[in-house]
């Protein structure tokens, strides 16, 4: 398939892996441990597992799966609030499919639907707006979540609703922003991460400049990466070369869609509708200052948090959950005591088991590390 298979060429992959091996062996010798590179985005985690990339790499370099899966890091209390909205009389709750499965402290949205709430799976916020037009006597609430990738489409949908005077449409806003969370990870004294693959689609919107502090203040290389397997391998090689040459820069591997300064039109829409919250809770990581957005005051009519009385209760992280340690690169998913025993994709306990992009779900779905090693050893 044109423009797809070119980015999955196994011959080029082998050459890149040879290059990666040479540099990473040298670096691992210098560090006395494998080089650890965090792929920030859940889409990258998905590619790494989907194509079996981790098993193709030498043992001198490892991926650490980052916090960039918006479904995974959604706190339980916010899911509970969303379930409460869905159960209000007259409400149609519109959600992306993978968010419907996230467990709250008692129910997920899918379970709320089974119990009688009117929950609809949509593919775009505009589908939710269409539901509002078609059901003028109902209140349609869109469960908005995601990073800057999905923020502009939500913002434009709200602007559209306002221009149409549709007052039976609102957002339950859970949009988050990755940069403060990266800073919070970097401020952790025990962080074992040597460099980063930057989130490709977030960067389409925000550009590359917001990451400059990673290189300048924390002296870590960051390469904004695309989502095809060769994108990942090439970006990893670029991080390793920087480390080898003792450089720390922000580089853009995904230049075919990411610009230095981002998408001004999208950022403008986002700024019109949203403002930073003082703080937002991330599942597995706790409260992080300025890491979430809410709707600005002029859009209160479209804000489900203003329209509905919400329980707003904060739910404790489940016992035995070590998602925070996985996210900081301290342990691998399989080293968590709950992994694959009490915590599975069927019955997720921790954030990272929830969505197929979560590091633990990906490990579980596409091969636990020891098993893959067995498989590779027997062939």
């Amino acid at each position: 398939m044109q423009f797809v298979d070119e980015f999955r060429n196994p011959d080029i992959a082998r050459r890149l892996i040879d290059d990666i091996s040479r540099v990473s062996h040298r670096m691992a010798d210098r560090l006395g441990r494998p080089v650890q590179v965090m792929e920030v985005c859940g889409g990258h985690t998905h590619t790494i597992f989907r194509y079996g990339l981790a098993g193709m790499l030498p043992s001198s370099v490892e991926f650490v799966h980052g916090p960039g899966c918006p479904v995974c890091v959604l706190p339980i209390g916010r899911v509970d609030d969303c379930v409460a909205i869905a159960h209000q009389p007259g409400v149609i709750l519109a959600t992306f499919g993978d968010a419907a499965r996230v467990p709250g402290s008692r129910y997920s949205l899918l379970e709320a639907k089974a119990a009688g709430a009117d929950v609809r799976i949509v593919y775009s916020p505009l589908d939710a707006l269409q539901l509002a037009r078609a059901n003028p006597d109902r209140e349609v609430v869109f469960f908005a979540l995601g990073f800057e990738t999905t923020m502009p489409s939500t913002a434009l949908t709200v602007l559209q609703a306002r221009s149409e005077g549709l007052h039976n449409f609102s957002l339950f806003c859970n949009h988050i922003t990755i940069v403060p969370t990266l800073r919070s990870l970097l401020d952790d004294g025990q962080l074992l991460i040597d460099g980063f693959l930057g989130p490709g689609h977030v960067s389409v919107i925000i550009g590359c400049r917001p990451y400059d502090f990673i290189a300048e203040q924390y002296r870590k290389p960051m390469v904004v990466a695309g989502f095809e397997p060769l994108d990942i391998l090439q970006s990893l090689h670029m991080v390793l070369v920087q480390l080898d040459e003792s450089r720390a820069q922000v580089q853009n591997q995904y230049a075919r869609v990411v610009s230095e300064t981002g998408n001004a039109y999208a950022l403008d829409a986002v700024n019109k509708v949203f403002e930073l919250r003082e703080s937002f809770e991330w599942r597995g990581l706790g409260d992080i200052p300025h890491s979430g957005v809410r709707m600005r005051a002029p859009f209160a009519l479209f804000d489900a948090e203003q329209k509905f009385r919400l329980p707003g209760a904060r739910a404790a992280e489940p016992q035995g959950c070590q998602c925070g340690d996985v996210l900081r690169g301290r342990i691998k998913p399989a080293q968590c005591t709950a992994f694959g025993t009490t915590c599975t994709p069927q019955t997720p306990i921790g954030a990272l088991m929830v969505s197929s992009e979560g590091a633990c779900a990906a490990h579980y779905q596409y091969g636990r590390v020891s098993l893959i090693q067995d498989v590779v050893a027997t062939h």
Partner: protein
Amino acid sequence: MFDKELITLAHGAGGTAMRRLIEDVFVAGFATPGLSALEDQAEFGLAALMEHGDRLAFTTDTFVVAPLFFSGGDIGSLAVAGTVNDLAMSGARPLYLSCGFVLEEGLPIDTLRRVVRSMQQMADSAGVQIVTGDTKVVEKGAADQLFINTAGVGVIPRGVQVSASRAQVGDKVIVSGDIGRHGIAILMAREQLALQSNVSSDCQPLGALVSQILLAGSDVHCLRDATRGGVATVLKEFAESSNVAIQLVESALPVDASVRGACEILGLDPLYLANEGTLVAVVPSKDADKVVKAMQSAPAGRHAAVIGEVTSSPAGRVVLETQMGGKRIVEMLAGDQLPRIC
């Protein structure tokens, strides 16, 4: 006279309205000798059955697909092909089907007629007869338009022993056609998806294809049609039941370009998409070529291909060699595949 009429509760009440519905829609539509006798059961002679083999195969399946009509099929063709295929996967020759309808009050009778016509066409092409049936009408809202249950009887030829537990180390894994078309056709037919594509369901009966496979003279170890859960789920079932590993080669999987395109956009994996006329076979290595050739000679098997082999370890697992040369474990999904948000 029914053309603009709707199903009402009277059509399920056992009186003249119900009798008229049965005669005008079902008896006329199915045109099966014996059905017009309107007995409460169908009869067939044991001697005639025994000409086909020495064991009966018996199965049932219920169909609740929404929407009722989609590219390449409808609930009626699905209800016949689905049960015919479940019978055929034992190696049986499918012979007779029953059908039970649950109709929602308010269903246009014309819609029912269309479904019945499509069932009869599929039954003709599968070489089976619909010999008995039942109809219930439920109040509006208690069902989504129309549900169908079919049960079927077939006869397994002497000596044929097909089972999910018979995969052996060294066997080859064959798929009968390109995968994932039914799953994508249904997704496309659902109204919210603003995507257009020319993908049609692979909905088709597989009895003739299975006959071709058996005629090729191979001791077929496993056969299963890859319906819900797709090829991945069938192979995982084989690996677990037979306590073997199955090694798949991603680049050998036949996937139509339109299906692949839709999967790329929606973030879906064709290995998990439903099929309604595509089977997976596990056969001894020495027979693989002749089985593939035999399959390719039947219309339902034109795109048949070897997609992998059976090895000893890791037992109970399916391992995919990716297009990139990496390896990953193929597990069953916890639920439906859901499009990802970004």
